[in-house]
Symmetry: C2
Subunit: 193 residues, 2 copies
C-alpha cells in the first residue's frame, strides 16, 4: 500500500455554473473519489437527500459546531450557512483517498488558507453571464430577486479565478468533465504531490 | 485569434522506455501538436525518413550549427550528436502552437535551463530495468555492449526524474498516452500558462 496522501480537489465558481452536475458526473466516472458532503442550514430542495446531497442542520447546531472548530470552511450565502467537516477531509487525505469538494467561492478562499500547498483548486466559469442567468432561471429554485443577487455576486467571484490553480469554462458539461478528470489524473503524476 | 502562447511539452527518459511510440501515438491523437524533429549525426535506421523521424546531417554541419547557436539543446549520446532547433520551438510557441519534444535526459536538462518557466517536463520511467532490457533487446538496433551501456546510463538518468514536472511509469502504452494527454490538457487550463 502506498503511503502517498490523497488529493484534495476543490471545485468552485458562481452559483448556477454547474458545480453540482459536474460533481455528480465526476463521482460516477471516478467512484473511488470521496465527496465531502457540505453541512447547511438551508432547507432541502425537493430532490435532495439528507447526508447525500447535504447534511441539513438547524442554525443553532451549526453555530455550536463553528465554535468547536468542526469546519475546515464555512460561509454565509444569502441567509444560510454552509460548511465542510475538517476531520472528514483530513482523515481521507491522510489515508491516501482523494476528496472532492464542491463549494462556493468564499468557502474555497478559506480552504486555500488551510490547504494551500495540498489542494488543487479549480474555478468553474460560465461561458457568459447570459448563460448563467438562463441556468439559474431553469433551476426554478430562486426568485427573480435572488437570481439578480446571485448574478451580482458572480461578477465579483469571477475576479477571483486567478487565485485558483486551474480555470475551466463550463460551455459543454462533458468537455468540462473530461478537463476536470485530466486535471485530477495529471496531478497524480505531478512531482509536487 | 488568441494571443496565448503555445505549450512546450518535453518528454524524456531512458533510451528504450517508449518515448518514440508515445510521441507517434500522441501526434495521431493530437494532430494540431507540432513535433520538433531532432537533428542528428547518427545513421538512419531502416524505417526512418529524413526530415520526418530526424534530420540527418554530417558531423561537420552539426558542429558548425552548434557554433552558430542554432540549437536549443544538443547532446552527445554514444558516438552521435543530437540537437533541436531553437527557432523552430520559439516560432511555434510564440504563434500559439504547441510543440512536443522527445529527447534524451541530457537534452532535457539544457531545455530546462532555457525554458524553465515555459516548458512542461515529463519524465517517462520504465516499470523495471528488466522491462527496459527486454525492450532494448526487442528493438534489435543495438549490440549487447550498447544495451548494457544504455542500461547503466538509464540508472543514472532515472535519478533525475525529480527535476521534471511530471513522472509517468510506462507500464501500458495506452494508459501512459492517456496520462500524457491529460497533462497537456490540464496545463492548458493552468493559470500559470
Amino acid at each position: 500500500m502506498s503511503s502517498k496522501k490523497g488529493l484534495l480537489i476543490v471545485i468552485s465558481g458562481p452559483s448556477g455554473v454547474g458545480k453540482t452536475t459536474l460533481r455528480q458526473k465526476l463521482l460516477i466516472k471516478y467512484p473511488e473519489m470521496n465527496y465531502a458532503v457540505s453541512v447547511t442550514t438551508r432547507r432541502p430542495r425537493k430532490s435532495e437527500v439528507n447526508g447525500h446531497d447535504y447534511v441539513f442542520v438547524c442554525m443553532e447546531k451549526f453555530k455550536k459546531d463553528i465554535k468547536k472548530g468542526v469546519f475546515a470552511e464555512w460561509a454565509k450565502v444569502g441567509e444560510n450557512l454552509y460548511g465542510t467537516s475538517r476531520i472528514f477531509i483530513e482523515n481521507a487525505i491522510n489515508s491516501g483517498s482523494d476528496v472532492l469538494l464542491d463549494i462556493d467561492v468564499q468557502g474555497a478562499a478559506q480552504l486555500r488558507k488551510l490547504y494551500h500547498e495540498k489542494g488543487v483548486f479549480v474555478f468553474i466559469k460560465p461561458p457568459s453571464f447570459d448563460t448563467l442567468r438562463s441556468r439559474l432561471n431553469l433551476r426554478k429554485t430562486d426568485s427573480e430577486q435572488e437570481i439578480n443577487a446571485r448574478l451580482t455576486l458572480a461578477k465579483k467571484e469571477i475576479k477571483e479565478c486567478n487565485n485558483y490553480n486551474y480555470t475551466l469554462v463550463n460551455k459543454d458539461i462533458d468537455k468540462t468533465l473530461e478537463d476536470l478528470y485530466c486535471i485530477i489524473n495529471s496531478e497524480k503524476h505531478n512531482k509536487m504531490n
